[in-house]
């Protein structure tokens, strides 16, 4: 009960700030929290990265294995993206198979990478129809401080950029760098009482109506979008978020990631 009262008070406070064009942590509406990215932190994985985005912390690990391609893409490698909201990360997460939030996060991360053609899957074919590389992207959320989506996307692509394909270990030639062709970056905004703020903190995420993630590429095009939350956007808001997201993704690419 007291928790509900707290939430009510917090909600009112945050709303009142937004009305005054302020955010609880002093950021501007278009400003995101501090980011720290570390790569190749897990030696057992072919690629790995941790991302700290404000209070949010998660780790992505990439494992490569040989397997059979999908029947309708016999000459392409396969990407499998999985994300776990383990109960360590939040009092609200429970053990068990991924729920709808974990599934949505994994699928949006996956679409951003897949649809930007970030990974050249044709170069991951060994014998068409028989043997290709499977890329497992596993994202482990360790501390939920809000906006998991952007952190997860960032960790995934940062980890992929460091992958060496372990061909030698499987006796099929020399190791080579994973052919990464683009750097899709997701930026999420939420609507709070008519205002749009990017990179929502966990409290902002809770009081937000609708949420919109825009994943954009090096050339400024968009490869994935996802509206979620019980609320809506006007077309103008969507165009605005797309603008801001594209701009912000360029900054992030410049600062942290390169091909």
């Amino acid at each position: 009960m007291s928790e509900e009262v707290m939430n009510e008070l917090k909600r009112d406070y945050l709303y009142s700030l937004i009305l005054k064009n302020q955010r609880a942590d002093g950021r501007g509406f278009e400003e995101s929290r501090d980011i720290v990215i570390k790569t190749n932190i897990i030696e057992k994985a072919e690629g790995s990265a941790s991302v700290k985005l404000g209070d949010t912390y998660l780790v992505a690990g990439i494992k490569l294995q040989l397997g059979t391609p999908f029947p309708d893409t016999p000459d392409k490698g396969v990407i499998i993206t999985n994300l776990e909201l383990i109960p360590m990360a939040s009092p609200n997460f429970e053990s068990g198979p991924p729920g709808e939030n974990a599934v949505e996060l994994a699928r949006v991360v996956d679409r951003g990478i897949r649809e930007s053609h970030s990974i050249d899957l044709k170069e991951l074919c060994i014998v068409p129809g028989e043997s290709v590389w499977l890329i497992f992207i596993d994202i482990h959320v360790i501390d939920d401080g809000g906006n998991l989506m952007d952190a997860a996307c960032l960790a995934a692509i940062a980890a992929l950029l460091g992958v060496t394909v372990p061909a030698k270990k499987y006796g099929i030639g020399e190791d080579f760098k994973l052919p990464v062709r683009d750097i899709p970056i997701a930026v999420t905004a939420v609507e709070i009482d008519g205002s749009i703020v990017i990179d929502p903190s966990i409290d902002e995420g809770r009081i937000a109506g609708a949420k919109l993630t825009v994943t954009s590429n090096i050339d400024g095009s968009i490869s994935a979008m996802q509206k979620s939350g019980v609320g809506f956007f006007t077309p103008e808001q969507i165009n605005y978020v797309a603008d801001v997201a594209i701009k912000r993704s360029e900054e992030l690419r410049e600062k942290f990631l390169e091909l």
Binding site: V103, R107, S221, Q226, K227, F232, N239
Partner: protein
């Protein structure tokens, strides 16, 4: 079918439609006996059913919300609805579709009227072409109205896609399989967007145009949904003659200037019209 060389020839798509034309849609209201509200909807070759139960008790209890109703949405594909038999039960795709579909209709429901209750929405896809989630949202919206769930308005949904570098309304199967982008959208009558997903490749400008095209599509669908509901009320009223005039007046007054541009010709062949 393999990828065709071109999807649009002389401004006409493979199935004869213009770029900004929806597939035919057929809506029947109140088709089920057990459900509190229901709708059968065909959208191209998509055949979907929506049922609504509620407001009703929440099981298990700890899922109750103290001040609002819980809205639950379950999108499910019949095993035989797709080319390759689908294993029964939820997969990751249908879990995500259920989530975004719920978030597409829930903003329109006055959930605060029914604290501690559940409103359950079930969408079953009997046959899947491209666009089952938009078909399901359209049907769910009508089923909610049929169940007399208080709503701010109907939600209407359709997709915009890109083929041959051009934006087209309401992708059919082959356009979806080989197209360059897919943008399912759902909207309130006021044009507020409650569903927006996208994958593929779009520029900012294309996104803007895509949303505009979807807006036009949703307006047309909204008209069909409204017509189907009025049809249903009329049928009810024929059994209660004395009340009919009053409702006619209400229907009239609610009428907007939107005109349906779809010929709702395909009235036969449905699952439930005997």
């Amino acid at each position: 079918m393999d990828k065709p060389e071109k999807f649009i020839i002389d401004g006409i798509r493979l199935d004869g439609r213009k770029p900004d034309e929806l597939r035919p849609m057929k809506i029947e209201v109140g088709v089920l006996n057990r459900a509190d509200g229901s709708c059968y909807l065909e959208f191209g070759k998509n055949k979907v059913l929506a049922a609504v139960y509620g407001p009703r008790e929440v099981h298990p209890r700890h899922m109750q919300k103290p001040t609002t109703a819980v809205v639950r949405f379950k999108y499910n594909m019949a095993s035989f609805s797709v080319e390759e038999r689908k294993r029964p039960g939820p997969d990751r795709r249908s879990i995500e579709v259920s989530k975004v579909s719920r978030e597409a209709v829930e903003p329109m429901i006055f959930t605060e009227y029914f604290p501690k209750s559940a409103i359950d929405i079930f969408v079953e896809v009997l046959q899947a072409d491209a666009g089952t989630r938009t078909a399901g949202i359209n049907a769910a919206s009508v089923a909610l109205a049929d169940a007399s769930i208080p709503m701010r308005g109907l939600v209407s949904s359709c997709a915009v896609g890109k083929v041959d570098g051009e934006l087209v309304l309401d992708l059919m199967k082959d356009e979806d399989n080989y197209g360059e982008a897919d943008v399912p959208v759902a909207m309130t009558p006021d044009g507020e967007i409650t569903l927006l997903q996208m994958d593929g490749n779009l520029t900012k400008e294309e996104l803007k145009k895509a949303v505009e095209m979807a807006t036009e599509g949703c307006k047309q669908i909204y008209k069909l949904q409204r017509d189907a509901l009025i049809e249903r009320y009329k049928k009810d009223l024929e059994e209660h003659k004395e009340e009919v005039e009053l409702v006619e007046i209400i229907a009239e007054s609610e009428e907007t200037s939107i005109e349906s541009t779809i010929d709702n010709t395909d009235e036969s062949g449905g699952l439930n019209d005997e």
